[in-house]
Symmetry: C2
């Protein structure tokens, strides 16, 4: 299968234009993708000024323009789409991503580990770290700062994920290296789709690091993006490689793991 | 406090000469150290040909030349020594390391995750991942391939370790980068002391990658060694930095960790 990330710069609050930008990029450069990952909060931008502002931009899924767009993209590309958006659910707002299949069926993951001022804007997610069947394999989702807690990727791997889709709005420099370790220690693929550019709101601004990437179960970067600029990275991967949990001829990821000694971990 | 690693090339089976080499290097270059970490299996070398050979070279602790040497080094340097050796305990042999204080008191850690043919030579360790008080702080121990399982460093951190001492005989290239992530994700220091050179035994040989390092809680390498050659890396560190578990002004390592969602981890 062909896995891809789409890196671009959303303009804050311009939902229609952001969705169109992703559709155009995907149509032009991701036509062959079977799985395409978009950034975190791809339709709204990131640097909100208040919880009210997030609430006004947030959308139900399905039921809003982002859901419609992701569903159309999945159909047009005949690909699984995973992308981030601000999710309104009743009175709550989550920093979520949706996985949408070509047939329009979908799953939502709500970010568990909120970063900095996201705590003012969103409710912490309540999703289990549970992979879902899609594109003929099991796909896990996590969002941006979730990378920092190894338990997230670990649980997805223990529950059978072969690919982690990782919509991001990274501002710190550590994540691209750390995701190589997440892949290596869990023997799976990861697709990090990051945004680029800068959000300027009032007296605040925030820059994002780009460097989207696809990493394989050996911790090797298969394709990666520069720090700036729109970029679609597309690469052939075989998810079955992530089902082989032999680390060496005599070391197996599952069997060697000393859970008998891991008592107080949770 | 001053933390250090000692990197050198043990000669297989030449216990007295290996111990003397470490004593000389430490006396000449690690005189200021408060904590000095030596490689895995530092007194025997690595590439055994049989379990009988390991058994013959293995030593009780205390009670053998390695224990005597580490204890003497701790006294002479007025430093905590952590070093690896083949431990005989009754009929069993473990791939162990000892932590020895200047007053001669000691703790043993037995490697939990054995790599490749170590499974022919040693029994898997039964030590809890529990830091011990030393050098005015709490020090955790893990050995070489234990790095691969994030649970090991995680448990040591959750139990209060500020420094992980990591005697190693690394042959694969991933660990130096991965230890930066272990430090970052747990907000602690790590001292990896690796060996260099090559063991040649019968028709087999194995090369080791050197690149010993001290890493801080921000994932920065403070001092590191080249791939080859004897090297003592000595650096001032403040273990209290590892007690500060704030990741950002609004993110705390402990409080933000979503253990409510980590159910099936063990």
């Amino acid at each position: 299968m062909k896995a891809a990330y789409l890196q671009f710069e959303p303009r804050f609050g311009e939902v229609s234009s952001n969705l169109r930008a992703m559709q155009d990029l995907a149509a032009n450069q991701a036509g062959e993708a079977d799985l395409l990952v978009l950034p975190e909060l791809a339709s709204t931008g990131y640097l909100f000024q208040s919880r009210d502002e997030v609430f006004d931009l947030a959308e139900a899924f399905p039921g809003g323009p982002t859901a419609d767009c992701f569903t159309q993209m999945a159909f047009d590309l005949n690909a699984v789409i995973v992308g981030g958006f601000a999710e309104r659910s009743g009175d709550q707002v989550y920093n979520s991503c949706a996985l949408v299949r070509p047939d329009g069926s979908s799953h939502i993951y709500r970010k568990a580990h909120l970063f900095l001022d996201e705590k003012d804007w969103f409710v912490p997610g309540d999703s289990p770290f549970e992979p879902v069947p899609a594109a003929g394999t099991l796909i896990g989702m996590m969002i941006c700062f979730d990378w920092y807690y190894p338990e997230v990727a670990r649980l997805l791997a223990l529950r059978g994920a072969t690919i982690i889709c990782h919509p991001s709005n990274l501002v710190l420099p550590h994540c691209p290296e750390a995701m190589k370790v997440r892949c290596l220690e869990n023997r799976l693929f990861a697709i990090t789709a990051n945004r680029t550019g800068r959000d300027e709101r009032g007296d605040r601004s925030l820059s994002f690091i780009g460097m989207s990437q696809v990493v394989d179960p050996g911790g090797q970067i298969l394709v990666s993006a520069p720090p700036d600029g729109d970029h679609v990275g597309l690469v052939e991967i075989d998810p079955r490689l992530a089902e082989d949990k032999d680390v060496t001829g005599r070391n197996n990821w599952t069997r060697d793991r000393r859970i008998d000694l891991f008592g107080d971990l949770v």
